[in-house]
Amino acid sequence: MAGRSIPFSPASPDSAPFWQAAGEGRLLLRRCDACKRVHWYPRPICPHCGGATAWQEASGRGTIYSHSVMRRAPEPYAIAYVRLEEGTTMMTNIVDCEFDAIHVGQPVRVIFVPRDGAPPMPMFTPEAAA
């Protein structure tokens, strides 16, 4: 990860298990007990059907749905939407790679990037670079 400092944003009362798992290097999702679908970002109430949801561990693998390298920034960085293997799409950063080689459809896997004073953030890196 280049030198961009990752801003802190406070957790909500319902997200503590996610950030604890992140600290252990595990990516969690929520799946609906009723309709069985996963969603992102995680909520206790399913955005697809209104049912109750529960945490489950994700594989951490996915593909890039779209991306943009922010050039007008003190430290350029790559933002992306990654479509997870489980079938939902999350905003993230693509790190530890050549920005110009990032492309739609590229297979990526999760890594956890440390932050000062907060749990690490899940980010993604190209599989080939693993």
């Binding site: 944003s9 970002y41 955005p47 922010m70 933002i79």
Partner: protein, 389 residues
Amino acid sequence: MSLRGAACIVGAYEHPTRKAPDTSLAQLHAEVALGALSDAGLTLRDVDGYFCAGDAPGLGPLSMVDYLNLRVRHVDSTDVGGSSYLLHVAHAAQAIAAGKCDIALITLAGRPRSEGVATGTTARAGNPAQPDVQWEYPYGPTIANMYAMCATRHMHEFGTTSEQLAWIKVAASHHAQHNPHAMLREVVTVEDVVNSPLVAAPLHRLDCCVISDGGGALVVARPEIARSLQRPVVMLRGAGEAVKGQMGGDVDLTFTGARWSGPRAFAEAGVTPADIRYASIYDSFTITVLMHLEDLGFCEKGQGGRFVADGNLISGVGRLPFNTDGGGLCNNHPSNRGGMTKVIEAVRQLRGEAHPAVQVKDCALALAHGTGGSLGTRHGSATLILERM
């Protein structure tokens, strides 16, 4: 209840300033209010409904109603970002139809240029209680890179090119050269756009709108009142609104809320995109215009790049004259909210009061479309179809 014919836009005013370091935000709101009322031939005492959004100072409508000493019986401060003012026109028509007010004032103003706000290129945390913040803000989402992701995906799915996007800026610049108030009056070429520095790939500096101070206002009135005034009558013929988000993680950046708000407005108006003579299309970025044109039905999904190329949006040259004031891309984007100026230029076109060099001949039916928030995450959409009577 249909809004068709329920209300008319009787006053419209765009503040001429683009930089107002010595004018307060409240004064800017007041100046545009007086400008629009004067345009209509009305006074502050005639206003009985007031509409504003998050750019207004203070709590909702309270501060500006007090500052202007309005005597209102209906207020609405619905905030859907830059699309708010189009939505306010529709909501004012609803209120008028329901008998809640007769003459509604809508104001917008802002000073992002004087305040030195890095509007599009800085991630903003927002309210910590906003449910998406902890899942998104640390990744550095900005206005620019969120719209850029829409462009990346559009290019991937449909083969859209940077050169095609550049044509949108080129067309806006052709219009802005005739607007003495426009921030960017120089005509640019496709090469100028694609050779300008990347801001958020694939969007270049000239794919982005300007950052300006200023504002605008509209007066919406009951049709009987509109006919009693000494101005051309511009009637609301149809309106649609929508909100689009990430759909629970089924993110789809290939379309906007215009896919929903547009057909609603056309259905209410009883017309089709082919009937529209002039279109004000929200233009925070070039990609914004391209996607809206597709979603509003001016061309097939994926064909936007071909549609905008070769000057097709230039008045007097192409099939669909757009943003003849120069739009947000060249003229003005007050308070980082482009919806108000979209309606104002549509009103100018319908009255025949646009600059002669860009005035659309016999412009009887126009569309104005606005977006608020971010196409890359969650946004409001509002579409108006307006008719000269």
